[in-house]
Amino acid sequence: MKQAITQSKDKSTALAAPAHMLRGRHRRWAIVGLATTLLVLIVLTAAVGSARISVATVYQVLLHRLPFMSAAPAWTASAETIVIDIRLPRIVMAAVVGASLALAGATYQGLFRNPLADPYLIGVSQGAALGAVLGFLLPTAVSPVGMGLVPLTAFTGALLAATAVYLLAKVGKTLPMTTLILAGVAVGAFFSSVTSYLLIASSDKFRGIITWLVGGFYMSNWSEVMVLLPYAAIGTAVILLYSRPLNVMQLDEEQAQQLGINVERVKLILLAAATLITAAAVSFAGTIGFVGILVPHAVRLIWGPDHRSLMPLSALCGAIFMVLTDALVRGLGMLSSNLTEIPVGVVTAFLGAPFFLYLLRQRKRAVF
């Protein structure tokens, strides 16, 4: 009997395949589940808006667009135009922007080892906004090719802001919470003030930029989506590929180096990627705050701190969050025809700011 016990014990240590202890093992299912949810939500929320179009109609219109599915249309041409050319690009834009901002937030948080880093709170969004406004004011901005330059000028502005905040907030080798937020607020305010001046000083035709600046999707169209997508795709790919090195960098820089990570290079690549997708998102949706902090935090609470889970799941949850928020905005617009649509950025700040304060106060439970 005694022998049997020792034997089984030896066996259990030898066979101890701790793979089941790795939290990342459910990652694939979570990704599939959230991606499906996102697709379903895209169809469902396409029924939300001032013109009344049922979910069934949306579904049929979309199905009709697929190859070999040409059933006789049982809907009006205007309904099809609204779904395909107005609502769908807007929803897709919201999804891409939400994913980008959440991913950028998660990346900044990982790089700065600071759970409060958000593209908006650290001033990067405001830097991007100034860059974008300068891009809009360029004489080339009238052509679609010129519009394609806006993400680049926004990227330049965002990169300037990120570098400034990083240098200002750095104390020795660390980036403390307080200095990061203070530097972010200061740099953000500085860039915003220049943007405001430019908007006031510019002629009437640029006044539309102000509504863009508060954050929203109601001017989105397919050509904008097509300009945004490559930037978002490149930045996202880079961030996903570097998520394991980013895990190791959650240790201090010295340990990461001693474990074989080329810290300076990874930092630079990830900073550029996060800033690029922030800039691309801001170029088309204005400054939408707090998504980058709300979403990754929730994902970390549920699925743990491993960036290989955190990154794809934050992107999907960010997309879902933004699609829902934008649908909420459109739904509120349905209630009254003379009610001006609330900018999405107002809603995210309304939800996100109290959450941010809550995080700032409650630092007991380690999720980071």
Partner: protein
């Protein structure tokens, strides 16, 4: 020709030749040379600021030496990529920052980083090696616990397991017993000694407890102001004279009643008047 003609033993282990390094142009380690063979437990002692941690930073190449060479297994560390170096040298830093929300297993698996391609993830083999390292240091029972829930001794053993998972030839430990209770001190040192002699690792360990150093190390180096002042077996390094000249304090040194290794006794009042011990 030179590489093959040289005796093989010359290429093994760790070799430091006249290394000088420091911070902001100020040298902290000044012309240190030493050699250590596999299976040798080398202790680094000396007062605070004598350059123990800086020397460890230099060997692991997180600090660039101003002059001198460090060779590991016959290879100059400056010619190696970070990833290659991390396969040879595992480091247990002093008070390392560890992210609280990762689990013990996740943290130890980070030790496999030098063997993974940048975009790859851990294979079953990596998990197995990490698990063995955790069994060796006795933290496998804590695999799913979060780092934030561990005691100081457990944390330290997790970091040693992480360094072991790197499958290094050389292990550098910077005061791994500092601020631990005596039971953990003995536990960690027993483990390090076993690793060194059974896995034939070169182990360089910085310690501030002279008695612990004398009990466990095969050889001791006593550093003072960035230079090696004494080098040899514990009995020749830990003497009343060496401690007086390096630490500037008078102590009583005797041999351990059980194993005759040098043991240091402090005497109250000896810090201010050097002849207290004579009076006693």
């Amino acid at each position: 020709m030179t590489a093959t003609a040289r005796p093989r033993a010359m290429q093994l282990g760790l070799r430091i030749e006249g290394i000088t390094l420091g911070y902001n142009g100020k040298d902290v380690v000044n012309g240190v040379s030493l050699a250590a063979m596999p299976g040798e437990l080398l202790g680094l002692v000396g007062p605070n600021g004598c350059g123990k941690s800086t020397l460890i930073r230099g060997i692991s190449h997180v600090l660039q030496p101003r002059s001198g060479h460090v060779t590991v297994e016959g290879k100059d560390i400056t010619s190696l990529r970070r990833q290659e170096l991390a396969r040879l040298i595992g480091v247990v830093p002093q008070n390392p920052y560890l992210p609280q929300a990762f689990t013990v297993l996740e943290l130890v698996l980070m030790g496999r980083t030098p063997y993974l391609s940048r975009f790859g993830s851990e294979a079953p083999r990596d998990i197995k090696i990490a698990w063995q390292a955790m069994e060796t240091t006795g933290v496998h029972g804590l695999a799913e616990r979060r780092i934030g829930e561990l005691s100081g001794g457990e944390r330290q053993r997790v970091v040693v397991a992480r360094a072991l998972a790197q499958e290094p030839k050389i292990m550098l430990l910077d005061e791994p017993t500092a601020s631990l209770d005596i039971n953990y001190q003995v536990q960690i040192m027993d483990m390090v000694s076993k690793l060194c002699h059974e896995h034939m690792l070169v182990v360089l360990i910085a310690l501030h407890d002279l008695n612990l150093a004398a009990q466990y190390c095969d050889r001791l180096l006593m550093l003072h102001q960035g230079k090696i002042r004494f080098n040899g077996p514990p009995a020749s390094v830990i003497t009343r004279e060496s401690i007086r000249s390096v630490y500037g304090v008078d102590v009583y040194v005797s041999s351990h009643p059980l194993n005759q290794l040098p043991t240091t006794f402090v005497v109250a009042g000896a810090g201010s008047s050097p002849d207290t011990i004579e009076k006693v």
